[in-house]
Amino acid sequence: MTESSAAVIHTIDLSKHFGAVRAVDELTVAIPKTGITSIVGPNGSGKSTLVNLLSGTLPLDGGIVIIDGVGLRLVKAHESPQHGITRTFQEVRLFEQISAWDNIMVVLTERRLIPSLFERVKPAHRETAERVLREVGMWEKRDAMAGELSYGQRKLLEIGRAMAMNAQTYLFDEPFAGLFPQMLERVKEIVVRMRDQGHTLIFISHNMDIVRELPDHLIVLDSGKLLTEGEVHDVLSRAEVIEAYLGE
């Protein structure tokens, strides 16, 4: 993938270091606008850091991010929705001591300070929240505190919260990790459905079965650098990938 025109996100020499550790090291990569892209790589290869940089959760140390043709040297977290980006977190970060319902609601309502003071829940908010909660199968649990839900339910709720944003691009940090088969199938269905609706999906995963099955495009990172990228089966058959990632 070299032509940036078809890319929704393009990074040039993107860098992030923590002390002496180069978590992301002059990474130049393009993520296609259509379909599902999976980011894989060994532990510590910079996958989560990359997602954190793209969503503005971490400030970048160098390089540039081009989102939909707009070049950014500074990605601010609160501006990421304006770039059409939303995300989930590896460690599932919900608003624990508020209800599942309010966890969805809070991403639907007014962002501007003063108008938000005078805004009450609108029917449109309610409809979206209900639709999303039903889609992820959490409607029955809407009144439960997020912190009281099971791990799988929390993952679903977090994905639902991202879906409620109705963004163009979704960054899912390990959406399949730690899920029972039944839940896993549900998340897979959601991801495929979102792709079919025309959204860009980018997810990190360690589950090789899913990586073989779901994505259209694969990005392999190693030590913060791009190892290789391309069509899934093509990439997975390359010698350097087998060596660096799959072992042997």
Binding site: A77, P81, Q97, M105, L113, R161
Partner: protein, 347 residues
């Protein structure tokens, strides 16, 4: 949240009180506090009731407004008393009787404003100081935030004590007038009480509107995870600053009321300890509940005033005794019911 609060939360992990259904505890607490108040007032008569309720109204404004910051937004501020003091001193300086100034050992400027002209300034100044302080404080979180707000309370106190050209330092300021509509001054205790209760009702209404709005929901999300909520398009610092300023303005109002009601203030009303008592009230009543703060304020005032009547307690120890009782109560509550009397949330 923080390590400190994590370790507090770990204590007394499974008490019978904590497992009791919320509705039951809430009902029992409400009945006990209100019953206690009623009984006490009936026993002591009208004059006492009026005084008690006026003190309650002022503390309740403070508690409800502080709960916006502590309970709803998760910023454990122990500096609230500073804004209370700013409101009180602004009222004292602007409104105190100019003719009295000749009798003073140390003279201060006395514009001799009427109460209602000074009141908006009290509220605005508390808000303005909060804005300046808040811009700096916005950089801090959790345990560090507690420490810097601690610092603010101390700095505010030393201003009140040492800025003698304005505050008369330890002498305090006398002859602060009551509110007046034209020639009708609210001199009577009942009139003032009604006025204070109207102020409290307004504050409660505003707080209720805030916490039930979209803004209020964002505050609770900030309390839970401010990094995560930012990703969804919210400028967290603006929201935190806004609630901080609003809360300080309400404290400023409470301060103005106190100054006018007692007609005399000195720095001792605004020491750090009062801030701690205020935090105790908010936690005791319950975080992130307006009703809890009202109940907490009532329980506190009853405790404070009630101790005067204990036969075995010499009058000179009453002040210290209430601190001991409140301190012990706070520890017991943290152990067995960290969410407070009617609260749902924990620090």
């Amino acid at each position: 949240m923080s390590q400190l609060s994590e370790s507090i939360r770990g204590l007394g992990a499974s008490g019978p009180l904590r497992r009791m259904p919320r509705a039951n505890v809430e009902r029992i607490a409400t009945v006990v506090v209100l019953g206690w108040a009623m009984g006490f007032m009936l026993w002591q008569g009208a004059g006492f009731t009026i005084t008690l309720t006026t003190i309650f109204a002022i503390w309740a404004i403070l508690a409800v407004s502080l709960n916006l910051v502590v309970g709803f937004t998760g910023l454990l501020s122990v500096g609230h008393i500073g804004f209370f003091g700013i409101g009180a001193y602004t009222m004292a300086i602007l409104a105190s009787d100019a003719s009295y100034d000749q009798l003073r050992t140390e003279s201060i400027p006395t514009p001799d404003w009427p109460f209602f002209a000074a009141l908006p300034i009290c509220i605005a100044l508390a808000g303005l100081v909060a804005l300046g302080v808040g811009i700096v404080f916005n950089r801090f979180r959790d345990d560090i935030f507690v420490l810097v707000s601690f610092g603010f309370a101390i700095i505010a106190f030393s201003f009140f004590l040492n800025l003698r050209e304005l505050t008369r330092g330890a002498f305090g300021i006398h002859e602060i007038p009551r509110p007046a509509f034209g020639s009708w001054a609210l001199d009577g205790e009942v009139e003032f009480l009604v006025f204070a209760l109207i102020c409290l009702a307004l504050v409660v209404l505003i707080c209720w509107l805030i916490v039930t709005s979209s803004f209020g929901r964002v505050l609770t999300a900030i309390r839970e995870d401010e990094e995560a909520i930012a990703v969804f398009g919210y400028r967290v610092t603006h929201f935190k600053l806004a609630v901080w300023v609003l809360s300080a303005m309400m404290a400023g109002l409470a301060g103005a009321l106190l100054a006018s009601w007692t007609s005399f203030i000195d720095p001792n009303s605004f020491i750090l300890l009062e801030s701690m008592l205020l935090i105790a009230i908010v936690i005791l009543g319950g975080l992130a509940t307006i009703w809890g703060s009202l109940l907490g304020a009532m329980a506190f005032v009853l405790l404070e005033e009630g101790m005067r009547f204990l036969p075995f307690l010499p009058p000179e120890f009453v002040g210290q005794a209430r601190q001991v009782v409140l301190g012990v109560l706070l520890v017991v509550l943290m152990l067995f019911r960290p969410q407070g009397l009617v609260g749902r949330y924990r620090l």
